[in-house]
């Protein structure tokens, strides 16, 4: 019994990342997203000419709209997987999580890249960004300078470099003539990896907390349930469990959509860490509110209390579902747990700048249609990038079976693939390269 269970477990083990072949890149969903991206790009051109007023609901009281408060503040928290999962895997040596690293790096890169693009569009005078190359012109103590500078450097250097291996790997498999060159580049890259990976943890740690520090300067205009000296810590903490949810949840969803086996060893490990992060974070959040004496405002009958309880309940229920799924091995409750806790975290990250920001009693902000369309368009850009990357590069973890399936698929659909040496070994371990000999793997 136990050996059979172990066997089943083994066939589900995520052995390596495998591209999602057998599913076309361009389908109805993809075209719909592309249309959204196109609309957003056209509207962006209009925004650059007309200014921010005509296209957005921003006003003198609410100087920041959803482009900053949602696409940057919220979505980069979801995209902190490279930071949170990476620290767990590389610094705390949770080795099982290495299976999720490529997903984490890709989602992070896309979330940051799309956020930064929109940040440039949201800025009223983006041509002055060139000051970023003169460090002596920075205002070193400004949280916003910290965010702007650190985020751009992070996305353009460590995060981009960490995403290079899947690209190199594709080149390696693409044509056997490229292999020596690719291997040289890989060797050089690996030499710099410790410094790059360390930067990839230090920088997001700095800017994700500084995102919270942004609203410290707003003082009492942020509702007391959110305004706290601990905002930087809580923002960073929310980013960690949200990004675990994003990485593991997205991976589960992909496995479901593209019919791949799920390695419950890895997913359990991720769920355990996420549940702990959630409970510690919730404890810190409630403790902070009680120590500051703001707990009373949570029982006022107003929208702030409503948002607060929605957020706390979503995160708590998500945490409990994740914890329970560890015992029941119920994939559904695990997935729902990730979704709920991440949604709660999104509300938390969205609140201080928007839902709980009260510049004056009369002020109102609701995003304009164009604003929402552009925001959606840049989210779609990230999803489009994700779909292309997952289907063309080895990102999504899979059981070994998947690799062999892909090999048979290609032998059938594109017989010439053997010229490239893409699949050295066939399903039965035969060496498919020219002049190769029959070989059973493991011999």
């Amino acid at each position: 019994m136990s050996s059979a269970a172990a066997e089943i477990n083994r066939s589900d083990r995520w052995e390596r990342a495998v591209p999602v072949y057998g599913f076309p890149v361009v389908n109805g969903f993809f075209i719909g997203l592309s249309v959204l991206v196109l609309v957003a790009l056209i509207l962006t051109a209009y925004r650059e000419l007309a200014g921010l007023g005509p296209v957005s609901g921003m006003n003198d009281a609410y100087g920041w709209g959803i482009w900053k408060t949602f696409n940057v503040m919220v979505l980069t928290a979801l995209g902190s997987g490279a930071f949170a999962v990476g620290i767990a895997a590389w610094v705390f040596r949770r080795k099982k999580l290495h299976a999720l690293m490529r997903m984490a790096l890709l989602t992070s890169f896309l979330a940051y890249a799309c956020g930064l693009l929109l940040l440039g569009i949201d800025a009223g005078r983006p041509w002055n960004f060139y000051w970023i190359v003169f460090p002596w012109k920075w205002n070193m103590h400004s949280p916003l300078a910290e965010v702007a500078i650190c985020m751009s450097i992070y996305a353009m250097i460590p995060l981009a470099v960490e995403n290079i291996p899947p690209v190199l790997e594709r080149l390696w498999y693409f044509d056997s003539r490229l292999r020596p060159g690719v291997e040289t580049i890989e060797k050089r890259l690996h030499y710099f990896f410790p410094w790059i990976i360390a930067a990839a943890y230090l920088l997001p740690g700095m800017h994700q907390s500084s995102l919270g520090a942004l609203m410290l300067l707003a003082g009492e205009r942020v509702h007391p349930l959110w305004q706290s000296p601990l905002l930087p810590v809580l923002y960073l903490g929310a980013a960690t469990f949200m990004s675990f949810g994003c990485v593991a949840g997205t991976t589960m969803l992909c496995c479901l959509v593209w019919k791949r086996g799920m390695d419950m060893d890895v997913l359990d490990e991720a769920a355990r860490i996420t549940a702990w992060l959630i409970f510690v974070w919730l404890g810190l959040r409630l403790l902070d509110i009680m120590i500051r004496g703001a707990l009373g405002t949570a029982f006022h009958f107003d929208r702030f209390a409503g948002v607060f309880w929605l957020e706390v309940l979503l995160i708590a229920i998500g945490g409990v579902l994740l914890w329970r799924s560890l015992r029941t091995h119920d994939k559904q409750s695990m997935f729902v747990g990730y979704v709920l806790s991440s949604a709660g975290g999104m509300i938390y990250r969205f609140s201080p700048t928007t839902l709980a920001f009260r510049p004056n009693p009369e002020a109102l902000y609701f995003p304009a249609t164009v604003e929402i369309l552009v925001s959606l368009g840049f989210i779609s850009l990230g999803v489009v990038g994700f779909l292309v990357a997952v289907k063309r590069f080895a990102i999504l973890p899979a059981p070994l079976q998947e690799w062999h399936d892909m090999a048979s698929y290609f032998r059938f659909r594109r017989p010439y693939i053997r010229w490239t040496g893409y699949f050295k070994y066939g399903f039965f371990g035969e060496d498919e390269t020219e002049g190769g000999e029959y070989r059973v793997s493991g011999d």
Binding site: K95, L144, A145, P194, L400, W403, Y425
Partner: protein
């Protein structure tokens, strides 16, 4: 015998721990926390009890700063309801419904001694002049992030929402007129002397003299801006509570000093981040070596190329 690179790095890191902690925790007072008053600080003194609400200062401000009159209200009169992209100075009316004392209030930049807008401004587009203490805006450095509109506790800087080349509008105490030896536009036309211009210490003395001469006339017998928010260069006297005039009670500590204390300490000389970085590199070098070894073992087992 010779020191290896690893020993060197760990040695430096070990020595760095106490140094960085000392820098972070031991930095008791930073520049902005002990706020210096600029040597030649000039400012405004506005006395709400004398103001008759004629709005001559509003028109004079627009003229002095060469901005078109804001007639968007009724397409005829220059009557902005609040500060906006064409209005650096505005007269507002506080009139309680119960019929008790009403008051006009002149709103313009307070020119804080420790301005929150400048503390948040990423590339120092908002900058406090070290001599006159005027908080100026530089178009060439502004990226249009609108953080100043969020951070200013008095809600003064306003962003121009229309057009491809937006500007931030705020009172700059008519710096261009000061250079020519002229007074700011608003103070040069005030018929009752409700707003006067001068060096900050002189204005402070004058305000205290007025309080002394007519006790009970002024709210709390206090000058708003002497200590509030770390001190401001625009000073206010009023017979109604300052909060009703849009001047919140912020306490004697400035907003940046209050809220960014730990942020400032953490990034002081970049000591703590640098130390963290050195530690992370060490840990990751070890993890990477172990991980690569495992991958290559697995590669031998499966015959499939290792993925890092």
């Amino acid at each position: 015998m010779a020191i290896t690179r690893r020993e060197l790095i760990t040695g430096i890191a070990k020595a760095g721990v106490p140094a960085a902690v000392a820098v972070t925790v031991g930095t008791e007072t930073l520049k902005a926390e002990t706020i210096p008053v600029p040597s030649a600080a000039v400012g405004l003194l506005y006395d709400a009890t004398i103001c008759i609400g004629c709005k001559a200062c509003v028109a004079a401000c627009a003229e002095a700063n060469d901005t078109p009159p804001d007639t968007r209200g009724d397409a005829l009169h220059q009557a902005p309801s609040d500060l906006n992209d064409l209005t650096r100075n505005v007269i507002k009316l506080y009139k309680p419904e119960d019929g008790s004392a009403f008051s006009f209030v002149k709103r313009q930049c307070m020119h804080c001694l420790d301005p929150a807008c400048a503390a948040g401004c990423p590339f120092q587009a908002l900058h406090k002049d070290p001599e006159s203490g005027v908080v100026n805006w530089t178009a060439e450095k502004c990226i249009g992030c609108r953080y100043c509109t969020i951070t200013c506790p008095y809600h003064i800087p306003r962003f121009q929402w229309a057009g491809f080349n937006p500007r931030v509008t705020k009172c700059e105490l008519c710096s261009h007129r000061l250079e020519k030896g002229l007074k700011p536009g608003c103070t040069s036309v005030c018929p009752t002397g409700a707003v006067i211009f001068g060096p900050r210490p002189v204005l402070l003395l004058e305000a205290k003299r007025r309080i002394q001469n007519s006790p009970g006339r002024y709210y709390q017998d206090r000058v708003y801006g002497e200590l509030d928010n770390g001190g401001t260069q625009a000073l206010y006297l009023s017979h109604v509570p300052f909060e009703k005039l849009g001047l919140p009670e912020l306490g004697p500590e400035s907003v940046p000093a209050k809220t960014l204390r730990w942020q400032r300490r953490f990034y002081q000389y970049f000591a703590l981040p640098a130390l963290l970085y050195a530690g992370l590199v060490q840990v990751i070098r070890k993890s990477l070596a172990g991980h690569e070894h495992e991958l290559h073992e697995r590669e031998k087992e499966t015959g499939l190329r290792a993925q890092i």
